[in-house]
């Protein structure tokens, strides 16, 4: 019963967003339904989490039905409002993209689509028992996110958490955090929103939201690739590639971390970048702005991805040439190196607000950690091998992907962060254990899969000289 109510809540908020997106025709053409389902599935629970956070502050944890009531009311109001407008005024986008590579599906293709769909379905079913189990397994889930939700749930009050330094000094009415970082409250608010209707805290219902997010990301990916006129088989394989990643499965089964949600929003922004590369529309910028706001509200680390998104947006807008690229980036690189070597300027410390710092002495530890997790362990199957091969194949596929320069800039930013900046930072000691590496790669997993599929598809279609 608890689970049914949680599914009902998730459906209500997601469908209300889907209805608005559908009504405003933000996307049309092949894959539009999947894309809208993905967008609604990602944004619905997150906006409900933001709503619950506001409700918590104003009314307290007992008003857990308010977020969906507000969202449904706003959605209905928007839909009713738009029905009174002439049809041309509500069409935010034209009817789609020019068909380029649509192909008919033969019997072998249909069989392969069936096989990959079956593999995805089996994965979904094998994650389900863990997701519905009444427990929070992983460390940070019950130490940070789930703990905060549970405190609000059991006390019936919105309680702020004091810094750990006040453990021995704060009075008896205070609750003290154990971690030094004061994480944003959207994810615990979302957990509370999904548990609000139960009588006893079990940590059960929130798990469904993680499976929901993973499913929504799959829909986004399928819808995007169909929008880009890629064959259905390629779109289904892409969904399978992302869904099959062991760490993604671990973060779904062992739900309770914020990273999958960060991945969902970063994935959504990547999708929007790709769509706007084909045909830029005002809602694209609205979507990117929403994502920019949501990322740091999910997890503090979201602010670093915001930097990458702003960078990608600038590249998308100005489309600099290779010379301009070098002109813009080389001086910064030189200034960074000179600043560090001669003036001991720790710009990683400066950029991260003191959370990380330059730690060149542990560079090899970091690189060894990256190497093991990318190429030795099977955390990511062949994803990094495929990314590596696709980087090699990029010159041959460039003709097919050069329109998507904003997205490519985001991919370049992410790869530089993962294999360049992280091993140089103080976080390199955690790269070996995987605690940092896995999480950063989860955030960036969807752009990587999209990159692999697009380049591989473009490379396959290459006919001629580079």
């Amino acid at each position: 019963m608890n689970l049914a109510v949680a599914v009902f809540k998730l459906s209500l908020v997601s469908v209300s967003i889907m209805a608005v997106l559908w009504r405003f025709k933000v996307v049309t053409g092949p894959g539009a339904l999947a894309l809208i389902m993905g967008m609604g599935g990602v944004l619905g629970p997150l906006l409900a989490g933001v709503g619950m956070w506001m409700v918590l502050i104003v009314f307290g944890p007992t008003a857990h039905w308010l977020p969906e009531i507000i969202m449904i009311s706003v959605s209905l109001a928007l839909i009713i409002y738009t029905t009174r407008l002439p049809p041309s005024a509500i069409s935010l986008t034209s009817s789609g993209f020019s068909a380029s590579s649509a192909s008919s599906i033969g019997a072998l293709g249909k069989g392969l689509i069936g096989c990959f769909c079956a593999l995805i379905a089996v994965r979904f079913l094998s994650l389900l028992p863990d997701v519905v189990a009444p427990r929070l397994f992983p460390w940070d889930a019950w130490l940070v996110w789930g703990y905060e939700a549970r405190v609000w749930f059991e006390t019936g009050q919105f309680i702020p958490f004091l810094a750990p330094k006040e453990t021995l000094t704060a009075d008896s009415t205070a609750w003290v955090s154990f971690t030094l970082t004061d994480y944003p409250k959207v994810v615990p608010s979302m957990m509370l929103w999904l548990s609000g209707h139960v009588t006893e805290w079990t940590g059960q219902a929130p798990g469904l939201a993680w499976l929901w997010a993973a499913t929504a990301i799959g829909c986004l990916l399928f819808g995007l690739l169909r929008q880009l006129r890629m064959p259905t088989l390629v779109a289904v394989i892409a969904v399978y590639l992302w869904w099959s990643l062991p760490i993604i499965n671990a973060h779904t089964a062992l739900h309770g971390y914020a990273d999958l949600w960060l991945s969902a929003v970063l994935g959504l922004i990547s999708v929007i970048f790709l769509l706007m590369s084909v045909e830029s529309k005002p809602w694209h910028w609205l979507g990117i702005m929403t994502g920019l706001i949501l990322l740091p509200l999910i997890k503090i680390e979201g602010i670093y991805w915001d930097v990458g998104i702003v960078f990608a947006a600038l590249v998308h807008h100005y489309r600099p040439s290779i010379r301009a690229w070098l002109f813009l980036t080389l001086p910064w690189l030189v200034i960074g190196v000179i600043g560090y070597v001669i003036f001991d300027l720790d710009w990683i410390h400066w950029v991260t607000g003191g959370r990380l710092e330059f730690a060149v002495s542990d560079l090899m530890t970091g690189l060894w950690g990256v190497w093991r997790h990318t190429f030795v362990f099977y955390d990511w199957h062949l994803l990094f091998y495929a990314v590596f091969l696709c980087l090699l194949a990029l010159p041959w596929a460039y003709r097919h992907v050069h329109h998507f320069v904003g997205f490519l800039a985001l991919v370049a930013f992410g790869l530089v962060i993962i294999v360049g900046v992280l091993p140089l930072s103080g976080g390199n000691v955690w790269l070996g254990s995987g605690s940092l590496f896995s999480r950063v790669v989860i955030h960036f997993s969807l752009p990587m899969v999209i990159f692999v599929v697009m380049v591989a598809h473009g490379w396959r279609q290459y006919r001629g000289v580079v």
Partner: protein
């Protein structure tokens, strides 16, 4: 057709030849070319526990200074991961220069230390003593604790580290291990979200390398085949990557299925919500349940949980409503007890490093106790309210008392 068969035969024979050469190369090294690494525990590890004797733990060594109760020294090593008895071949103890430490290696196959087996530690050279385990078990027994027991103490000495070596296999044994590594995936059980563990004592061989080795072969075969037919060799590369990916994933799927089966078993069985994570957590959960049923939060001032990180924090989670604050070993010093005030409740979830001693003869009528950390980091007094499976609830009676 015949030429194709010849070509396939050559490929097959080359693969088998390479495999045999590789196996012999691995077996020619005493450490099996690093494929079967020993588990090393250094002196500074938090897994050591002193059961008897005067032992000081430093960064580089455990200094054995004298005997304790029963005139013996017993140093316990809580295994980082419980290991199957039959998988452990030998245990090597690295010590300070020593003629003969005259100690035994004992081990426990129970989560609580109960002696299950014993072997003498034989001095191999001045700084190394070794015990060989030739234990046979029914396959279900795991070593939870190792211990070094010295009954005749002559002079102080030091332990630098311990290496636990697996039983090294012969040629067929190696093939069996390879087969198990690839085709016998264990149910995915771990609760760590960050990465997939390499099984301790498992073959330290990357499945990815094996898969890539296979993929390269597959690319070549498919590519050459396609090129000879005038077909699209690029498709061969893409299909090669995809086939290897799916193969790795089917293996991962079988690990997930094992876990799903366990989760379904839990879901269909009787359980109380919320499910504790493991046996240790069950005890903490039961302790929290008992305390919250017999006492109310407003009877106390502040509530602290005292213990190792996992135990102290799990209690904090189970008693979220009470606003429990965890005091973990990083904070264990005499300073923190000076902050204790009358009415504070200290919940002790560490039965190993924190000792509770009654201060009165009639404990039932006057349950006053002294709480002290074994190495003397802190101590304080209070009234015992409850005890459950080695965990205690101690109420502080007066802050002045603890300042003394």
């Amino acid at each position: 057709m015949t030429r194709r068969l010849q070509w396939l035969g050559i490929c097959l024979l080359t693969t088998i030849g390479c495999w045999l050469a590789w196996s012999l190369w691995v077996l020619s090294d005493a450490q099996y070319r690093g494929l079967l690494s020993p588990i090393t525990v250094t002196a500074d590890s938090s897994n050591w526990r002193v059961a008897r004797g005067q032992v000081v733990q430093g960064e580089e060594r455990l200094r054995i200074q004298g005997t304790g109760r029963d005139r013996e020294v017993v140093v316990l090593l809580n295994m980082p991961t419980p290991l199957p008895v039959e998988a452990v071949g030998s245990v090597v103890l690295f010590t300070s220069d020593q003629d003969d430490i005259g100690a035994d290696l004992i081990w426990s196959t129970q989560p609580q230390f109960i002696i299950s087996g014993r072997e003498p530690l034989i001095q191999v050279d001045a700084s190394r003593a070794e015990a060989r385990l030739n234990s046979e078990s029914d396959g279900d027994q795991f070593i939870y604790f190792l211990a070094i027991q010295q009954q005749v103490f002559e002079r102080p000495w030091s332990i630098h580290s311990v290496e636990i070596h697996p039983v090294y296999p012969d040629f067929l044994g190696l093939q069996g291990m390879l087969w198990k590594r690839i085709f016998d995936p264990r149910p995915w059980q771990h609760t760590d979200i960050n990465y997939n563990y390499q099984q301790p004592f498992g073959l330290q061989l990357s499945l990815m390398s094996l898969a890539l080795f296979w993929a390269t072969g597959l690319f070549l075969v498919l590519g050459v085949w396609q090129a000879r037919r005038g077909g699209d060799w690029r498709l061969a590369v893409v299909v090669g990557v995809l086939v290897v990916w799916v193969s790795l994933d089917i293996r991962w799927q079988s690990e997930l299925m094992g876990r799903s089966a366990q989760a379904i078993e839990f879901l269909t069985g009787d359980h109380t919500a919320p499910w504790p994570l493991d046996e240790g957590d069950q005890a903490i959960h039961a302790f929290a349940q008992q305390l919250t049923t017999t006492h109310r939060r407003d009877e106390f001032n502040r509530v602290f949980s005292l213990g190792y990180e996992y135990e102290a924090l799990r209690l904090r989670y189970h008693m979220a409503k009470w606003g429990v604050r965890a005091i973990t070993p990083q904070r264990w010093s005499s300073r923190w007890t000076r902050r204790l005030e009358a009415g504070d409740l200290v919940l002790i979830v560490d039965p190993w490093d924190i000792q509770i001693q009654p201060l009165t003869n009639d404990f039932t009528a006057n349950p006053k106790v002294r709480v002290s950390e074994v190495s003397g980091a802190f101590s304080f007094e209070g009234r015992a309210l409850m005890s459950h499976q080695g965990f205690w609830a101690i109420m502080i009676l007066s802050s002045i008392e603890n300042n003394q």
